[in-house]
């Protein structure tokens, strides 16, 4: 689920917070909490670290609120602060370069052949009641290269549009589309063979009828 941004509410809130109604900041930041946390989790790959970084981000947003110009969506601005927080921490950790959002990899390389199937029976979202399905999805996403994981997280999990994703990650819209395509192909290849077991079985059939 994503919370649609409401620029009028945000602008009004910001004006009033800056005029002294500090408590309104809780309401202003609440719709962005999920995206902040999961962007940071994607970058830092550690829940406790991501949570601490999310708190730091929210505080930085508050302290810098007067600098928000309204020429981007508020959440986009917030996410760029989260991204800087995450990258700063990665730098301090001396993290491997390919784990950084700034990493440049050869976009043309890699094998993106999907898992070849001859039929597909849809796995309904009710199947998520089974814990292992969510676990499979999380594990597959976690296993993606960082630059793909970040894009999937914002586009497919937080359901942000291409433009906002590009702005939040500091990459072009074209790069968002290419990376999303690669990420989905990698996920399909990894997941499709495993997800088959979660599709409803046809009565009287064992195994996977054609």
């Amino acid at each position: 689920m994503t919370t649609a941004s409401n620029p009028e509410f945000e602008a009004d809130c910001i004006r009033r917070i800056l005029a002294g109604e500090k408590q309104l900041f809780h309401d202003l930041i609440r719709p962005s909490e999920r995206a902040i946390y999961f962007l940071l989790l994607s970058l830092l790959r550690n829940e406790a670290e991501a949570e601490d970084a999310a708190q730091e981000t929210a505080i930085k947003v508050y302290l810098n609120l007067a600098k928000f110009r309204g020429d981007s969506q508020f959440r986009t601005w917030v996410l760029s602060i989260a991204r800087n927080e995450g990258l700063g921490r990665l730098r301090k950790q001396g993290s491997r370069r390919e784990d950084s959002l700034d990493a440049e990899i050869d976009e043309g390389s890699g094998d993106y052949t999907p898992a070849i199937l001859t039929s597909w029976r849809e796995v309904p979202s009710e199947a998520l009641e089974r814990k292992e399905l969510g676990g499979l999805l999380r594990k597959a996403i976690k296993g993606l290269p960082a630059i793909y994981r970040n894009v999937v997280l914002l586009r497919d999990i937080e359901e942000m549009d291409v433009r906002e994703t590009a702005a939040a990650l500091g990459i072009t819209e074209g790069a968002v589309k290419v990376r999303l395509h690669r990420a989905r192909a990698l996920l399909q290849r990894e997941l499709a063979p495993r997800l088959k077991g979660f599709a409803p079985q046809r009565k009287g059939l064992f195994g996977w009828g054609a």
Binding site: M1, I17, L18, G20, K22, Q23, F25, H26, I29, R30, E33, R34, Y37, F38, E47, E51, A54, Q55, A58, I59, Y62, L63, L65, A66, Y112, T113, P114, A115, I116, L117, T118, S119, W120, E122, V123, S125, L128, E129, L133, G134, L137, R138, I141, V152, D156, I157, E159, K177, L180, H181, R184, A185, L187, Q188, L191, A192, L195
Partner: protein, 81 residues
């Protein structure tokens, strides 16, 4: 022109997002009518995309929001805007 499977795979993500132009969409649709492999690849990819968007897959840690707002509260008391 008849497009091949590889060509369809290259555009699957854009196809799912409704970002291919009408001509290419029509070509892909024609291909899908007769290619069960590409149909299954498309359906499974779309299924993965739908499942990922479900909030149950990625949940905030228990108490995350409460801890965040408690820390913010302390900060709001200290700092001026």
């Amino acid at each position: 022109m008849r497009i091949d499977c590889k060509h369809v795979w290259e555009h699957i993500s854009a196809y799912i997002d409704g970002e291919v132009d009408a001509e290419l969409r029509a070509e892909i649709d024609r291909h899908l009518e007769t290619c069960e492999i590409c149909s299954a690849v498309l359906d499974s990819t779309r299924n993965v995309v739908v499942l990922m968007a479900d909030d149950r897959v990625f949940e905030l840690p228990a108490g995350f929001s409460q801890r965040l707002h408690e820390r913010l509260e302390k900060e709001l008391e200290l700092a001026g805007p």
